[in-house]
Amino acid sequence: MLFGLIVIFSLTAKDFASSANVWNVGTQATLLLLLALPMTLVILTEGLDLSMGAVLSLCTVILASVDIASGSLGLGLGAALAVGITFGVLNGWLVAWMGVTPFVATLGTMGLAQGLALVATEGRETVGVTAELRSLWEGHWVGLPIPIVGALVAYVLLHVVLYHTRFGARVIALGGNREALRLAGLNVNWYLMLVYVIAGVCVAVSAMLLTARINGGNASAAIGMEFDAIAAVLVGGTSFTSGRGGLLGSLFGVLTVSVLRNGLNLLALQASVQVAAVGLLVIVALAIDARAGKV
């Protein structure tokens, strides 16, 4: 978590500390946060959801198409939610009931989602969504940009759910000692699936923001975002073998990753390098954890 601050200070590239830029980073980070939060839950259960990026892209495509075709934002949102939930259920079913390693299961669904998105769009982009939809990104609510409000709401909601509800305690137990849950007479499979469904819902919500931002739907819109989300969670201190870290850690992780990308961007390094850097960051974080005897 300290990385976040270190990275922030070390990147004193031009315009970095300008208020406009901070604002920029903030809004970009909201998207990532919406992915990293459910990813935290998934990782807490010793799983992974690699399909997030692909499903997100698919949702943008669906959302944009429905929105443009029907002119109704509500219908579009509903469609996106449906897609997100469907994939969540699929992932959950594969992992919980079929016993497939989460990693492979979501790798497969990632291919599925990507494929579907490609097929639906024939590789083209869908552009020109309704102003209603666009306002989700550009609009304001009580003085704050909607995306930030959305992210805050999501954070608060998930925080409450994870730390203040029985459900949340069970999710943590899923990762810490699954056997304990079984012995307490609870149905482990349902909880596991619900975690992936929550991920699906969050993906759909972030699809709304993303679609609004890029003003359309694009099959490759979010490819690779799951990596940033995973990186954020890992850097934030949550790991596969321990249940430490948690949502706050992931928040810091998201900020760290976003700041890193933003800084590199300002230094005129392209997206690909940024990705490489994020990868390096993850490895460094894991290495430090390993030395400290955790991982």
């Binding site: 509800t165 459900f167 305690a169 012995l183 007479g185 609870l186 321990s242």
Partner: protein, 528 residues
């Protein structure tokens, strides 16, 4: 819970308990007509093992029912059946005389059964209060939202009963083993169960903490709670128990009031034969050169100040309670866990490396959990037999299946492993045969020092004898054996001499003539 209808005094030990048992006393009870919980004819089989066969017992209100038996006798399985973690293959449950179904944990809990596990059911990254109330967290007005304040308050109350002063916000992962055991106990107590099952709850506790627990048990007795208590410790049995039942090889072989039990008799019943102190072993050769010498060893896993030796031709036992550090010592010697101080000398040469080098020196390690650590269950018998010896059998590095199969068949014949051949999957074999494979694996590698960790755990009587013969045969050929065992009878019977461990160090050493149960137990018993 449900009320008990009094249809008159019931006979204790007649209709309700079936299956073989010796020494029951028919008593009449005027207060309660039915036991709180009765198990009849419970059987449970796992692949290759009959864990429980037609076991019946009853738990009466206000009574502590002691369950004794050697490792692998079925106590843990029985307990898991009682709490719904395992569903029995046969048999029935009765609560207050009424037939009930116990198929999972929820059913058991509804009946008022709570269990204190030995291998904890705690979640490391939740705090103490959360663990105590996992699945039953008190809620606020909004459904699903936990009332943290009340949860912690309730947790503190339960812990106070145990005289355990700790911050309930602490994460369980940060607690020591004894403390975790106390949380486990608190968890069960907080369920206000009518039927409490305890699995060696004092294994990790100090005397003072144990006394506290005993006081609570006395209180619970007065409240009419029925308790089943698994124990290895004779003192506990007589201090707390009202009834004693002995399990052996999955069967209930005896059940009697504690007042009528005699320690020797109990041990004899557990072991199944008279422990023959005069078991002569003159036919064994005199011990030869020192194969293993350990000097003031300390390791990262906690063992310290270990000095011992093992010579060719002898079986040296390593006794002690669970948690005394015996497995850790074995792992340190074999190079699995790093050594921090002292030396390990094999055939006079210092050894300070990992398992591959240990193998080269002629060491062999047969771990406690053969399924998880000793065998690759998905692979064939032949593959498993060759797992260690490949560098020795194929020095050039080329692997020749035909030769490997021949070698495997030789060992299968030599050890009389009952299997169709080297191509059978290791998973299909019985516990005893699987253990023989693990031993055979090292035999093929011509190991000279065999370190056994609980060699007969989970193996039925007949196979146990074969394993003992096998081990005996090893030392007659001039090899050296270090044998960890929790079964005192085994140590006395099989070993030439024994070290006793306590609290991760050596507590004492007994020579041939001194080997007897009382001395072993005295050295092993936990004291603060």
């Amino acid at each position: 819970m449900t009320n008990k209808s009094s249809t008159g005094p019931a006979q204790h030990g007649t209709v309700l308990e079936t299956g073989g048992h010796i020494g029951t006393q028919i008593e009449t009870r005027s207060k309660v007509s039915n036991p709180l919980l009765t198990l009849s004819g419970i059987s449970k089989t796992f692949p290759g093992v009959h864990a429980l066969q037609d076991v019946s017992l009853s738990l009466w209100a206000g009574e502590v029912h002691m369950l004794m038996g050697e490792n692998g006798a079925g106590k843990s399985t029985l307990m898991k059946v009682m709490c719904g973690a395992y569903e029995p293959d046969a048999g029935e449950f009765r609560r207050d005389g009424i037939r009930v179904e116990v198929r999972n944990g929820a059913d058991a809990r509804r009946l008022g059964v709570a269990v204190i596990f030995q291998e904890f059911s705690l979640v490391p990254y939740l705090n103490i209060a959360q663990n105590i109330f996992l699945g039953r967290e008190p809620m606020r007005c909004l459904p699903g939202i936990i009332d943290h304040q009340r949860m912690h308050r309730d947790a503190r109350e339960v812990l106070k009963r145990l005289d355990f002063d700790v911050d309930t916000h602490a994460m369980v992962a940060s607690l020591g083993v004894a403390q975790q055991q106390l949380v486990e106990i608190a968890k069960a107590l907080s369920q206000h169960a009518r039927i409490l099952v305890l699995d060696e709850p004092t294994a990790a506790l100090s005397d003072r903490e144990s006394e506290r627990l005993f006081k609570i048990i006395a209180d619970l007795k007065a409240e009419g709670v029925a308790m089943a208590y698994i124990s290895h410790r004779m003192e506990e049995v007589f201090e707390l128990g009202d009834r004693v039942s002995i399990l052996r090889d999955g069967k209930l072989v005896a059940s009697m009031p504690a007042s009528q039990a005699m320690p020797n008799e109990l041990v004899a019943l557990m072991v199944g034969r008279k422990v023959d102190m005069a078991y002569t072993r003159d036919a064994r050769p005199q011990p030869g050169r020192t194969v293993l010498e350990v000097k003031e060893l300390a390791a990262a896993n906690g063992v310290h100040d270990i000095s011992m030796k093992v010579r060719a031709g002898e079986i040296v036992g390593l006794a002690g309670l669970v948690g005394s550090g015996r497995t850790e010592l074995a792992r340190a010697i074999f190079g699995v866990d790093p050594v921090t101080k002292g030396e390990v000398l094999v055939n006079g040469k210092e050894f300070r490396a990992g398992p591959p080098e240990a193998r080269e020196c002629g060491m062999a390690f047969i771990p406690e959990n053969r399924k998880l650590e000793g065998l690759a269950l998905e692979r064939t018998v032949g593959d498993n037999l060759l797992m260690a010896a490949m560098p020795r059998c194929f020095p050039k590095g080329w692997y020749i299946p035909a030769h490997a199969n021949k070698l495997a068949r030789d060992i299968i014949g030599q050890l009389r492993i009952s299997t169709r051949g080297p191509h059978t999957r290791a998973q299909m074999l019985s516990g005893g045969s699987q253990q023989k494979i693990v031993i055979g694996k090292w035999l093929l590698d011509d190991a000279q020092l065999f370190i056994f960790d609980e060699p007969t755990r989970g193996i039925d009587v007949g196979a146990k004898e074969q394993i003992f013969e096998l081990i005996d045969g090893l030392v007659r050929q001039g090899r050296a054996v270090l044998m960890i065992s929790s079964e005192i009878g085994e140590i006395i019977r099989v070993c030439d001499r024994a070290y006793v461990m306590k609290d991760k160090t050596i507590a004492g050493h007994l020579e041939r003539g001194d080997l007897d149960e009382a001395k072993l137990v005295r050295l092993a018993v936990h004291r603060d």
